[in-house]
């Protein structure tokens, strides 16, 4: 049995909206296994971002249980990296200062810190823009910077909200490769929340499909070939994309339903299910 990284048990979250209470997530359960790359896909406004904020310990006041490596999440955890949809870069800090910020906050000694930041900037390919401000960068470079800022830290869980949605196709593919490369190199667990089928199928070894608000996981699709070279141009890739599309459109009858269509009770052990999927991928 693999180790569990992130686990949600029957998590519900409501917001105090202008027009009363908004139910963002309802009884959502999921399990992320250590080292895997998991994609969560769902229509916009289904609570995907809420899910990530909860997982990173930035939102309180929810029902249910959220834990990482067995420990309940109550505040931001040092080993969890979060990349928000609009990157959350600080416009008043240069590229270097932005990338360096996490280490600075954690009081990593200066020489060590600077060296590491330099290395990571090089790794993501924006070292030549160290002295620029984020406002002077293209969307793709901003995304690389957001990635660099998280990767200067020792993360074992990387949470990403629509990492590539605002980029054009060519850039997106280059960045997907980079995401996969870094994930393989560093061996962290990766959780990507997206509304792009392409992104989910290319990056997610497992794909969880979310329902519209209040969000919960309705289907799980195994995608063992995710990340393999040339996957994008194989028939399997298109078949998988079609499967995900169908799941998004119908939200039942495809993949493996986690909920009984009528009663709405979740299956008891999500983690063992996750495990069997990943077992499959190892065997293939």
């Amino acid at each position: 049995m693999s180790n569990i990284s992130l686990e949600f048990k029957q998590v519900s979250k409501t917001y105090e909206g202008k027009a009363g209470e908004v139910e963002a997530l309802k009884d959502l359960s999921l399990c992320v296994v250590e080292g895997e790359s998991l994609a969560i896909i769902g229509p916009s406004g289904c609570g995907k971002s809420t899910l990530l904020l909860l997982a990173s310990g930035l939102l309180g006041d929810f029902r249910g249980k959220i834990s990482i490596k067995g420990k309940p999440v109550t505040k931001p955890r040092l080993e969890t990296g979060l990349i928000l949809q609009d990157y959350g870069l600080l416009p008043w800090k240069t590229v270097f200062e932005n990338a360096d910020l996490g280490q600075r906050i954690r009081k990593v000694p200066r020489p060590e810190r600077l060296l590491r930041t330099e290395q990571i900037l090089q790794q993501v390919g924006i070292q030549d823009f160290s002295k620029n401000y984020p406002g002077e960068l293209s969307g793709g470079m901003r995304q690389r910077l957001a990635l660099a800022r998280v990767l200067t830290l020792e993360v074992d869980l990387l949470l990403m909200d629509e990492p590539l949605s605002s980029l054009d196709l060519e850039l997106r593919e280059g960045l997907q490769e980079l995401l996969l490369k870094l994930w393989r190199q560093r061996g962290y667990t990766q959780l990507i929340v997206t509304h792009s089928i392409d992104e989910a199928v290319y990056l997610g070894e497992r794909i969880l499909v979310m329902s519209p608000r209040p969000g919960r996981i309705v289907t799980e699709i195994a995608n063992p070939l995710a990340g393999s070279t040339g996957y994008r141009s194989t028939p399997e890739y298109f078949a998988k994309a079609t499967e995900v599309r169908a799941a998004l459109e119908q939200r039942d009858g495809v993949g493996v339903p986690l909920f009984e269509a009528k009663s709405g009770t979740p299956t008891p052990s999500l983690c063992s299910k996750a495990d069997s999927y990943l077992g499959e991928s190892d065997a293939s």
Binding site: S56, L58, G81, Y87, L90, I105
Partner: protein
């Protein structure tokens, strides 16, 4: 820098020319031509110089004191809904009162030297900066705050790396806007009380019916404003480099 100087030269030329034409049209001793006025800057230089410095000192110190108190308060109120509930209404009641009405009281309490003038100007700056900075602190993008908190930032880190830099442009806007009011208040306070400063110099000239001398004082006051604006520009360029 050269472009800026050129800009000033051009502006000066346009102002002096219009002034000259206007004064020829009005044809009254109350509006002397620049040709009659500018030499007065030299004639009364020995008096004007110290008065200028005194006025400059008063405005500058008042701005520093006002900002030093208002900035942290504004940031704190802007980031704490609880503090805002308490201080919001208080601000809205006190802010619209023109601070100049307190001049008589301040003269009684603080005498007629520098103190009442500095306090009065500091009060004006204080409210302007407090309200603008508070609003800017409220508007700090949530994504910036969340992302830095996910890096493990403390409350202090959030202020240092996000809230303060995000509010700096608003601070400079507030200082620019309020410096006009500040100089107006300075003039009034110096004209009413004491025997130093440009306000006193101008009113004194008026009493002596020496209009060219009075206009020399007005030129000095304009120069005071220019220096203040240039200081803000330089500071903003240094502290808010990303813009």
């Amino acid at each position: 820098m050269h472009r800026r100087l050129l800009g000033y030269a051009l502006a000066l030329f346009i102002i002096l020319l219009s002034w000259h034409v206007l004064s020829l049209i009005v044809n009254s001793p109350a509006l002397p031509t620049p040709l009659q006025t500018v030499p007065m800057l030299v004639t009364y230089g020995a008096q004007l110089g110290p008065d200028f410095l005194v006025s400059f000192y008063r405005v500058l110190i008042a701005m520093i004191i006002g900002t030093a108190i208002a900035m942290p308060l504004g940031l704190a109120i802007g980031r704490s809904p609880r503090l805002d509930t308490v201080f919001g209404p208080l601000l809205y009641i006190l802010y619209p009162i023109p601070k100049i009405v307190f001049l008589p009281i301040l003269l009684v309490l603080l005498g007629i030297a520098d103190a009442p003038k500095i306090v009065l100007i500091a009060l004006t700056i204080f409210f302007q900066v407090l309200i603008t900075v508070r609003d800017a602190a409220k508007e700090v993008p949530e994504a910036s705050v969340l992302s830095i908190r996910s890096l493990g930032a403390s409350r202090m880190d959030v202020f240092l790396h996000v809230v303060i830099p995000a509010s700096l442009p608003a601070l400079f806007t507030a200082l620019r806007i309020s410096s006009g009011t500040a100089v107006a208040i300075l003039f009034f306070a110096e004209a009413i009380a004491g025997s130093t400063g440009l306000g006193h110099f101008i009113i004194d000239s008026w009493a002596m019916l020496s209009y060219p001398r009075m206009f020399a004082g007005i030129i000095a006051m304009a120069f005071l404003g220019v220096i203040l604006y240039e200081i803000f520009d330089i500071l903003e360029r240094r502290l808010a480099r990303w813009r």
